[in-house]
Symmetry: C2
Subunit: 114 residues, 2 copies
């Protein structure tokens, strides 16, 4: 997975565990609506301070994932459900029995992970 997508997922999962201040600055930087200089000025911190805060937030989010592994779990489930979805959407009427067997296998795997 691309690092930037992973970082987004980590924020989506654990962002609420950051402080309100961290979240605000982090979102300003990552969403890119303001320049680093503008953010620094608005928050009354240095440009280096903004940079350090983002780095620290990323580290905190990574540490939560190292402990809980919930993003990895979700990604694995999402992939399998995606495969189920593709299988049943293929509408290959000849192979319905086979599709159902594959869906049964995938859904069993997901239930074991949950």
């Amino acid at each position: 997975m691309e690092k930037i997508v992973l970082q987004g997922l980590l924020y989506d999962f654990y962002g609420e565990l950051l402080t309100e201040h961290q979240r605000q600055v982090y979102e300003d930087v990552v969403l890119g609506d303001l320049s680093i200089s503008e953010i620094a000025q608005e928050r009354g911190i240095s440009r280096q301070g903004v940079h350090d805060l983002v780095k620290r937030c990323n580290r905190i989010l990574e540490e939560y994932e190292e402990k809980l592994h919930l993003v990895a779990k979700f990604v694995s489930i999402r992939d399998k459900v995606g495969r189920i979805h593709d299988l049943v959407e293929s509408r290959d009427t000849e192979a319905q029995g086979q599709i159902l067997s594959q869906v049964a296998e995938l859904s069993s795997q997901i239930l074991e992970e949950l």
Copy 2:
């Protein structure tokens, strides 16, 4: 959901965010291999201390869920995947087309949640 099942899920998801000491006492109490008196003696704390620690752990775990809602998300997904599994396992060959439509709908719903 029964409170005791929910508490187990909360511990399963967020338990790693408790301290090592909290986890040890919590597991001793919840798994019930030792009496409260034995746990208190072994850990060098009072029986009331054991009780307070469990209560505090439950509160901490609930607070993580209040912020992150990841247990609720998982339970919802698990229910839907369980329904997919039951549908495809029913092996009702007459209704295969209908089963596939329902699986498509359920898998879409899950992907929207993920």
